[in-house]
Symmetry: C2
Subunit: 384 residues, 2 copies
């Protein structure tokens, strides 16, 4: 039986998510927006019976068994951790910091019977599902290089907000880079050991963001990841990722994996492959055609990925009679909160590397940093 | 009047060059090959009256006024410097080391009336000539990012040789990377201040190179260059270059420049552009069609670039009565030996960065390193 859903957020993803959920038979019982007005507007549009700007009203809503959190990164941790504590299943977007991600991991570990997945949608895109399958079957031989490019128009909102602020989780690395970091670990089956990166904010002000305000989030980011060796290879897989969001009027989303005997390339939602020795590329998976709504802010790979994830959620819950129970099978490929922590750790290592100019190690947090740590150190220093 | 030409080399470039020279009206009087046999074979094929395996016989040949040197990098310096000393005009490929390049610069400075250019051919490709013109006219606004990708099959020769050896000037960085480094300084009008890079040799042995022999030259190279600031911009242009020569059956040659108001992309020999605000790319320069010979080892951009360079050489010499004189005009865009030293310096800085993991400064040699330097230092140490 399908659980009742509560949705957090009124942004572009939430706007797409609600109709996708309904199309799969989920009932959306409650909607939270930062302002009453925003919530009211979207609730009316989609016939959601209850809306609010108080988060507890959604979390404690008796018909809500699954909470979908698509809100600014800095607010995600609080809602996600609380939702799990109340006993609700959670699908959510990334948090703003590794510390936040770690707190979410702790909560998820504490409630293993609850569903807790990251709403990273690229893993669910059929092209990447097929790509992973082919990689595991040895289509490219031993993996050598992953080369990713995401080019598109500015990620900034119309008005000044979190998308402009690096510390609030804005920027190309945090937004698109996160999805790619997760995807590459899914495709290669390995995690980054060391990273090197370069971030730039080429457009610091525009017609809407001016005066004393400046954009601090990156609009260009370039990073490399050296993945954990698989034993046989000397250095593991090299991943290079180029993100450029100064290209209005275009959208390029290309993920290429090159190996010893061939290569696979996903362009947008299509998958191509070429084995060494063959003359040209073969189309392995063509675009299935998107019947859903076109969304300007959300490129097709993300849109279709989101749609596939909602389908997987439906299958997962349908397998059980009880509306809060779910089967691991169809959502087993979804990124866990642990994956979310890994991704956030890589993002922060890339940022550190951009400052230091050096390769930075990816060290996953194993315990929460003591908030009094700095204070203690200062006291310690004073004593000496 | 066109000068008589002597050609050094019997490799794929020399094989293409000879007919191109003849098509433009140059007479090729002499050919040098490493072995009599190789020289004889190519000379017969193209009706070259004289061939030899002794370099002086070509350099001192009385009908030779222009020497074209397309031989392994480690041999280039010796021939080029000697040719200038004898009073011949020189077109040559890159040397193996910065020290060699510096010696060539010294010789070129000593004989400023002689033509001395690097046979780097991408600058002459019509797509890049047009690209540079459009960049200077402000098509993309303020330049932000250059993004280059060169993918292709292995660069290794059939048998073990210099192409396998990093120290001999083999590898993707030295071969294709050099052309790209030169091209990017031509396009942006700036030089790299700092570089960061990663080199890999994924295929260390193959069916032909085995046993105790291993390939040391890179088949994958990835590097970034921070170009000298133009004053107004904070950090100058960021260039990212990905070279992958583990992709048999494909050839991708893409150079993209992204700026504040638009972008230009050269794909192979074609040029595309898109200004911010327009819906799609426009084709700015289509492929002119290549009537010359197809050469498996030499992709079209290099082939057409070489052809354009030979045309420019013809114009340059035709402008003068005396067969050794030339006009700077039509070859003014050609890379000088100084440019060659810059390129070699960047190549070595990228290699250093791949070892150190750090950003490396590009410091152009201003005097020849003392060969006794290490010895002196050792003596100095012993004294203390």
């Amino acid at each position: 039986m399908l659980p009742g859903v509560g949705v957090f957020g009124t942004g572009s993803t939430a706007r797409v998510l609600v109709p996708l959920l309904k199309a799969e038979g989920f009932e959306v019982h409650a909607l939270w927006g930062r302002s009453e007005e925003e919530a009211c507007c979207l609730a009316k549009e989609h016939g959601i019976p209850f809306h609010t700007s108080r988060s507890d009203d959604v979390l404690l809503h008796q018909d809500v068994d699954l909470v979908c959190i698509y809100i600014p990164p800095s607010m995600t941790r609080q809602i996600a951790v609380k939702a799990l504590g109340i006993g609700k299943n959670v699908v959510c977007e990334k948090a703003a910091t590794a510390v936040d991600s770690f707190k979410m991991v702790t909560a998820a570990r504490y409630y293993p019977q609850l569903l807790s997945i990251m709403g990273n949608t690229l893993r669910f895109l059929p092209a990447f599902v097929a790509m992973r399958q082919l990689l595991m079957e040895g289509y490219v031989g031993e993996m050598q290089v992953c080369d990713v490019r995401v080019y598109g128009p500015s990620l900034l909102d119309q008005s000044y907000g979190w998308t402009c602020e690096e510390l609030m989780g804005g920027g190309g690395l945090h937004t698109a880079g996160s999805s790619i970091i997760d995807l590459l670990s899914y495709l290669t089956g390995a995690r980054a050991l060391r990273v090197h990166g370069l971030l730039r904010t080429f457009v610091q002000q525009n017609g809407l963001i001016r005066g004393i305000r400046r954009v601090t989030s990156d609009d260009f980011c370039f990073f490399q990841m050296l993945m954990g060796g698989t034993g046989s290879s000397s250095g593991g897989v090299c991943c290079t990722v180029t993100l450029n969001f100064n290209m209005p009027g275009s959208f390029v989303h290309e993920v290429m994996v090159v190996g010893s005997t061939g290569r696979l390339v996903a362009r947008g939602t299509e998958l191509y492959g070429q084995r060494n020795g063959s003359k040209g590329e073969e189309l392995l998976l063509s675009d299935s055609g998107w019947a859903g709504p076109e969304v300007k802010e959300m490129p097709l790979p993300y849109l279709q990925g989101l749609s596939s994830m909602v389908k997987a959620l439906r299958q997962s819950f349908q397998a059980h009679e009880e509306r809060r129970s779910w089967a691991r099978g169809s959502v087993a490929m979804a990124p866990t909160f642990e994956d979310g922590l890994y991704v956030q750790t890589v993002v922060e290592a890339v940022k550190r590397s951009s400052c230091s100019g050096e390769w930075e190690c990816v060290e996953i947090m194993s315990q929460e940093p003591d908030p009094n740590h700095n204070l203690c150190e200062a006291l310690q220093r004073n004593k000496n």
